[in-house]
């Protein structure tokens, strides 16, 4: 199966190492990712959609119209992009007036969209290939006690996302376990990371992530896995700030799901730019014996 890859804004322009791990993992699995020229911002379902639904539909439809891949359709490494692209499809397919209006706008730039491009989250494709994932594990992640953060837009609204259970998801748990790691239950597992409210209230956003990190620390996890770049930034970029502000001692490595797969597939940390992480995983690697120092 081949997919058109939709990179979005945050991963390629701020966190390209996450993209590197994802591309390497898909190559290992023999799943082809095709690059397409001319995508814009998806646009952000927590930003642009909130202020202008029509613009959200129009830009989203334009992006979807660029994929000519009728089999696999589009794959994205970002939960926000997936929610937008699936959501745009959902709206224009249920509302023929919206579809007409969108196409009137797209006509001005010589494009049209029929609402038929398929969209998948990269974790969805990985889960479909779980057996292949298992087969590719060469260096199991023994001793990794992973706090899984599914994130809101990976799951909800379930009518639009139409995928894992919105409150009792299992897909990422199964993927993590397939790598030899342990999935640690924690009280706040299903809570929002708080990233979207940063645009309105930074302190509130910090409070939400502080609550999650506390719960993760209390549960005895030694790392976190995420599948969305907004969640990734929220978890990783704020630990130092919280430590300064509240005298906490957070030092929890945050991994993208693709990074955990890459490591379990025997791909070296330097090949996937693990050095760009702000919270370094060295102590975890040493304590688990995953990579011996020196």
């Amino acid at each position: 199966m081949a997919y058109d890859v939709f990179l979005g804004c945050v991963i390629p322009a701020r966190l390209p190492y996450l993209e590197a791990s994802a591309r390497k993992v898909f190559t290992r699995l023999g799943i082809q990712l095709n690059d397409v020229e001319g995508f814009s911002c998806c646009p952000d379902p927590t930003g642009i959609e909130q202020i202008d639904h029509k613009t959200w539909l129009a830009l989203g439809s334009r992006n979807l119209s660029l994929s000519k891949n009728k089999n696999g359709g589009i794959i994205s490494f970002c939960s926000g992009c997936v929610e937008t692209l699936k959501g745009v499809n959902y709206y224009i397919n249920k509302d023929s007036e919206a579809m007409k209006e969108v196409n009137t706008i797209l006509k001005k730039v010589g494009k049209k969209y029929d609402g038929k491009t398929k969209v998948k989250h990269f974790a969805e494709v990985l889960y479909e290939n779980l057996a292949k994932v298992r087969k590719n594990v060469t260096t199991p992640l023994y001793g990794f006690k992973v706090a899984i953060h599914y994130g809101c837009h990976y799951l909800r609204p379930s009518e639009v996302i139409d995928w894992d259970d919105p409150f009792e998801p299992k897909t990422i748990d199964e993927l993590v376990k397939a790598l030899g790691a342990e999935s640690i239950d924690y009280d706040m597992k299903m809570e929002c990371c708080g990233n979207p409210v940063e645009k309105t209230d930074k302190d509130l956003s910090l409070l939400l992530i502080d609550n999650k990190l506390k719960s993760i620390q209390d549960a005895g996890a030694n790392c976190v896995v995420v599948v969305c770049p907004a969640c990734y930034q929220q978890f990783e970029f704020n630990q130092r700030e919280l430590n300064k502000k509240n005298n906490t001692n957070y030092d929890i490595p945050i991994f993208y799901l693709s990074e955990l797969l890459a490591l379990a597939f025997g791909i070296k940390p330097e090949e996937i730019g693990l050095r760009f992480h702000r919270v370094k995983p060295n102590a975890l690697f040493e304590s688990t014996g995953f990579i011996k120092e020196g």
């Binding site: 390209p16 911002c41 642009i48 959609e49 202020i51 797209l106 645009k199």
Partner: protein
């Protein structure tokens, strides 16, 4: 004193009829992570109540507007026993606020970035070389003119200029 705006109320209901199903049970507020973290300062049930009553001013222009604190986590939408589409209704209200320039700066900055670049985050030289070092391909994003044409057509560019004026 609060002024009822019937046109606003009717607009919300005609756009999303599920608003009128709400019987104020507060399942939404009880499950809302932001309501919990703000000790009820943000209260989705209250926003729905204000919408049913047509109190547009309180939702869009008042000093205590809280609708922008919604994290869009969609928990309320999943749990509502009356299947009220809260997030869609909040989106409509926020869209109306945008038309009169009443949005938080963070949203304006993102909007302006997309007008200027077609994407929310432009590619810096440093990132381009980091991409190259990681063996990643060059990204050819959307032509800015094409995106601008669409944003003019939807009046987005105009509305962004109204913010803070």
């Amino acid at each position: 004193m609060s002024v009822i705006n019937f046109d606003f109320r009717n607009e919300v209901i005609s756009h999303n009829a599920s608003l009128s199903y709400c019987y104020q049970c507060a399942t939404c507020s009880g499950a809302c992570p932001v309501a919990l973290a703000t000790a009820g300062k943000y209260n989705p049930r209250k926003i729905i109540e204000l919408s049913i009553l047509g109190l547009q001013e309180k939702l869009i222009e008042g000093a205590d507007v809280s609708i922008w604190l919604c994290s869009t986590c969609q928990t309320c939408v999943e749990l509502c026993p009356q299947e009220v589409e809260l997030t869609e209704i909040f989106t409509l209200i926020k869209n109306r606020a945008f038309e009169v320039g009443k949005i938080p700066e963070g949203f304006q900055l993102q909007g302006q970035a997309i007008i200027d670049n077609g994407v929310a985050i432009p590619y810096s030289k440093a990132i381009e070389s980091r991409r190259e070092n990681l063996g990643l391909p060059m990204v050819k994003t959307a032509p800015v003119d094409e995106i601008k044409t669409i944003l003019k057509e939807t009046n987005f560019e105009n509305n962004i200029l109204k913010v803070g004026k």
